[in-house]
């Protein structure tokens, strides 16, 4: 009797799930990066496996996407069932209770396989609020041929002074070769991501333990001066408008000697279809100043489910599929191992097929050397390597980024830029009640 009842209940439950699952439409918001576009292309496999679920895609450029999904989730607009967000948003949104916990994803999805640094970044109070789709740190990508011409040899773990010296030696403005390409475009995810991480390696920080802004510190002055001097010596023209994509194009067309940026770029610059310098790219860890922190960051584009979704089960099924080991295998089979989404799972780096990829080990080392819970030389009250995981950060950092971008363009001095940054950060933080 008891078992029959249970079986019956189970059957009904199954039926409900099945009927709910039939003819559901999931609206998925993603960023227009290569790995996401690839996922969209392969998603027909998912639809074939789950006949009841139909997928609709909203693919947007990063800044537009961020603004759209934030507006929607904060006003409970309910337009999306799955959102692509990063390690900055997850802790904040998770704390607000805006996301569904993914702790109940099934055993075979294997949460323990996720890289610890990445998993920690997506977990709030023991609840995993997003599944990492790909993870990245930053590293130095350089042209072996130009380095050789300059008579230098890149160490595996260079210092900032070496980078600056090498950049000057590689620069050949006549032939449009610029020793160093770095982000200069204003934005908390553009120049500020780079500069915040760089500042960590210069011994600096955003806030001290009482949440006082630190732009009046020597570390920030050193960071910014070093960055701007180096860019003026050896950087490309128009650097203050260059973000990730602009630099990628420059590097691929052979105009950069070195480029310090996201590890995912490695698969683009080494792809002979897109890159004119594919066979000449070498990799090294992000530089340091011998202070115990390197200038590399940690980021993971992740899939999260807003709490207001109509179809939580279908959304979970999709998130599970897109971040599974099977998906990695599917990409490998269709597009080759170099194109699988990197930086999320230990098992990928233990896979011998993947070990042949030249940038695999450097990517893993970079990710492992970043510590979001302890980003700076000194103790700080916040988490996040190239960001500060508080809601106010993106507004403040974008405004600060404008100042630094203007300093790079030569429109303000470093001193003024830092003074303005200090003032506006202090005002905003006071306003926010810190």
């Amino acid at each position: 009797m008891n078992t029959t009842l249970r079986a019956l209940l189970g059957a009904t439950a199954l039926c409900t799930v099945a009927s709910v699952a039939s003819a559901q439409t999931l609206t998925i918001a993603t960023v227009n990066n290569g790995d996401m576009v690839r996922m969209q292309g392969l998603a027909s496999e998912f639809e074939a496996q789950n006949p009841g679920i139909e997928l609709e895609w909203v693919t947007l450029e990063e800044n537009v996407l961020r603004q759209r999904v934030t507006t929607d989730i904060a006003t409970n607009g309910g337009q999306y069932d799955v959102m692509t967000i990063g390690t900055y948003e997850v802790p904040i949104w998770g704390k607000q209770g805006w996301l569904l916990s993914l702790n109940d994803l099934p055993e075979e999805w294997d949460a323990d396989d996720l890289l610890p640094a990445i998993r920690d970044g997506l977990t709030v109070d023991g609840e995993l609020y997003a599944a990492p789709f790909y993870g990245e740190s930053s590293m130095v990508m350089y042209r072996k041929d130009l380095m050789e011409e300059a008579g230098l040899e890149m160490p595996d773990a260079p210092t900032w002074d070496f980078i600056r010296e090498a950049a000057a030696a590689m620069t050949d403005r006549e032939n449009e070769i610029y020793g160093i390409c770095l982000r200069g475009k204003a934005g908390w995810g553009e120049n500020m991501a780079f500069l915040t991480a760089m500042n960590n390696s210069f011994g600096g920080k955003w806030f001290d333990e009482e949440w006082n802004a630190q732009f009046d510190s020597e570390a920030w002055a050193n960071t910014l001066n070093f960055y701007i001097d180096m860019m003026n010596e050896s950087g490309p023209p128009g650097a203050s408008n260059n973000g990730f994509n602009e630099n990628l194009t420059l590097f691929q067309t052979g105009k950069c000697g070195m480029w310090i940026d996201a590890t995912v770029a490695a698969s683009f610059v080494s792809n002979p279809d897109d890159s004119q310098v594919a066979d000449q790219v070498g990799y090294a860890l992000a530089p340091d100043n011998g202070l115990g922190r390197r200038g590399n960051w940690l980021w993971a584009w992740s899939l999260a489910i807003p709490a207001g979704t109509d179809s939580p089960e279908a959304a979970k099924a999709f998130v599970q599929w897109a971040t599974s080991k099977e998906y990695t295998a599917l990409v490998a089979e269709n597009e080759g191992w170099a194109n699988v989404p990197p930086g999320t799972r230990t098992s990928l780096y233990e896979n011998e097929n993947y070990a042949d990829i030249p940038f695999a080990q450097m990517t893993l080392d970079s990710i492992n050397s970043a510590d979001p819970t302890n980003p700076s030389v000194d103790p700080v009250p916040y988490t996040g390597v190239q960001f500060v995981a508080i809601p106010e950060f993106q507004g403040i950092a974008t405004a600060v980024g404008q100042q630094f971008s203007a300093a790079l363009a030569g429109q303000t001095s470093v001193e003024d830029a830092l003074a303005n940054a200090q003032e506006l950060t202090t005002n905003e933080m006071e306003d926010a009640g810190y």
Partner: protein, 276 residues
């Protein structure tokens, strides 16, 4: 002698006008041309003009990645819908302003125009909240209504200026003949105002087609028009000039072609009462 001079003048004018015309058109031409290049060719140094391997690859990629027909249909429905709705509301208003002007008619008209000066970003969150509460986020209906309201002042003003040009005596004659208000508008006024209405319609379709703030912020997947389609090609990773060009060409081609075919109508009426 005089003939020779005019002939020479005509040649000079032709040369100058063609040069300027082509310079103005060049960015569009270059975009269309680039859409047929490979990504590497698109940034080649020196740039190649016609002698490259023409390819349709970019169009293939764009079509595979985006649901172009859906975005296209959304653009059509939203721009035509808002224009039609706008006309229905604006014709009576413009009619009465033109023929039964009151003391405050001019003020009302100017006030209507001034509503267009509100910065849309300032009211995004309120409108977003209202749309959410009404359950019309990501629906074409909401966009049709919003774009109607945005362009209504322009429609009313354009129509008003045409209607004003129509001599009142004709209407009075019609009234004498016992025409009702309805038939007055329908049979007397409207035919005379056709060029004006035609260019109002065209201008509004263009404005609505190109509106990129509300169409992007109030839609997700279902109602997203071509402006949202473009946003997914704006700066992806890797080389993108050729793909961006292909997507741009696909987004502007319909309205460009429509504009060219109807430019006579557009020009004839696009005066805002400026010609006297």
């Amino acid at each position: 002698m005089a003939r020779a001079v005019t002939q020479k003048r005509k040649l000079i004018a032709t040369l100058a006008a063609w040069t300027i015309g082509m310079a103005i058109f060049f960015p569009i031409f270059w975009t269309i041309l680039t859409s047929f290049k490979t990504e590497a060719e698109a940034i080649s140094d020196p740039p190649s003009l016609f002698w490259f391997d023409w390819t349709l690859e970019n169009y293939g990629v764009v079509n595979e990645r985006s649901n172009y027909p859906l975005h296209f249909m959304n653009s059509v429905i939203i721009s035509v819908g808002s224009t039609v709705l706008g006309l229905i509301i604006a014709v009576p208003a413009a009619w009465s302003m033109a023929f039964v002007p009151g003391k405050r008619t001019k003020d009302v008209l100017m006030w209507m125009l001034s509503t267009k000066m509100l910065p849309p970003v300032g009211v995004l969150i309120p409108i977003y909240l209202i749309s959410r509460n009404l359950g019309v986020l990501d629906s074409r209906v909401a966009l049709v209504v919003v774009l109607t309201l945005i362009n209504l002042p322009i429609i009313v003003w354009m129509l008003y200026t045409y209607f004003k040009e129509i001599p009142g005596e004709i209407l009075e004659a019609a009234r004498m003949d016992g025409a009702t208000l309805k038939s007055e508008i329908l049979y007397v006024l409207t035919p005379m105002a056709v060029p004006g209405i035609a260019s109002t319609v065209l201008l509004n379709i263009i404005l609505a087609w190109n509106e990129a703030f509300w169409t992007l912020n109030l839609t997700a997947a279902k109602a997203a028009p071509l402006t949202a389609f473009i946003a997914s090609y704006s700066s992806p990773e890797g080389l993108f000039y050729a793909k961006l060009s292909a997507a741009s060409t696909m987004a502007i081609a319909p309205i460009l072609i429509m504009g060219w075919f109807s430019q006579k109508q557009l020009v004839r009426g696009l005066t805002f009462g400026a010609v006297k």
